[in-house]
Amino acid sequence: MIEIKFFASLREDMGRGEAEINAADAATIGEVWARVADGKVLAENMLMARNMEYSSVDTPVADGDEVAFFPPVTGG
């Protein structure tokens, strides 16, 4: 399984904070997005992480990974 998380405004836009897909259904983070986004386009400025490290749509994913999508950060 691959566990997916959405944060902040993206969580609200997606209507949920978490999702899950079978590892066999996606080879990259971009493919993970396509599986869970109900046809929504991934906005240019969205950020993504694989196992809590910044990544890109081309980053490969594997069984047991955690993949997160979120808008530009505004801490501090």
Binding site: K5, F7, A8, S9, L47, A49, M52, Y54, A68, F70, P71, P72, V73, T74, G75, G76
Partner: protein
């Protein structure tokens, strides 16, 4: 080196005093000539609007690991003896402290540059998000100046 995400109110100067007394002084007495500390506090205005409260969300786990990574980077890059980063999450009211970053070094130039690096990196890359409460609703903060 310490990184902590706090759900409870943060007293930045009490924490710095405690960290110097409990960690810096025992480990580095006489070595640190310089400490630079930045503390960020919630304002009651932003982008021209009054703000009455804020919800600060984060990505548990990734915030900690990202803040630890930039702390180590500062220590390696500027010959820093130690660093401290504390960040509030949850419901925050105007005038509440939000964040503290601190860097200790033998000399002041390094301490200033490292502390500035820590807060700039935190603001540009650490996974926190602010949702502001306005008079007429709420909004996610977009610009993080």
């Amino acid at each position: 080196m310490k990184v902590e995400i706090l759900e409870e109110p943060l007293s930045p100067w009490v924490e710095v005093e405690r960290y110097e007394r409990e960690v810096l002084s025992p480990q580095h007495s006489g070595q640190y000539g310089a400490a630079t500390v930045f503390s960020g506090t919630m304002r009651d205005f932003n982008e021209g609007d009054g703000v009455s409260g804020m919800l600060l969300e984060h990505y548990p786990g990734m915030t900690d690991s990202h803040l630890s990574k930039i702390s180590q980077e500062a220590i390696d890059r500027w010959d820093i003896l130690d660093t401290l980063i504390l960040h509030r999450v949850g419901v925050i009211m105007p005038n509440d402290p939000i964040v503290l970053v601190a860097a200790w070094s033998a000399h002041r130039v390094e301490a200033f540059e490292a502390a500035r690096f820590l807060i700039e990196e935190l603001k540009s890359r650490a996974p926190f998000w602010k949702k502001e409460q306005l008079d007429n609703g709420e909004r996610w903060v977009a610009k993080n100046r």
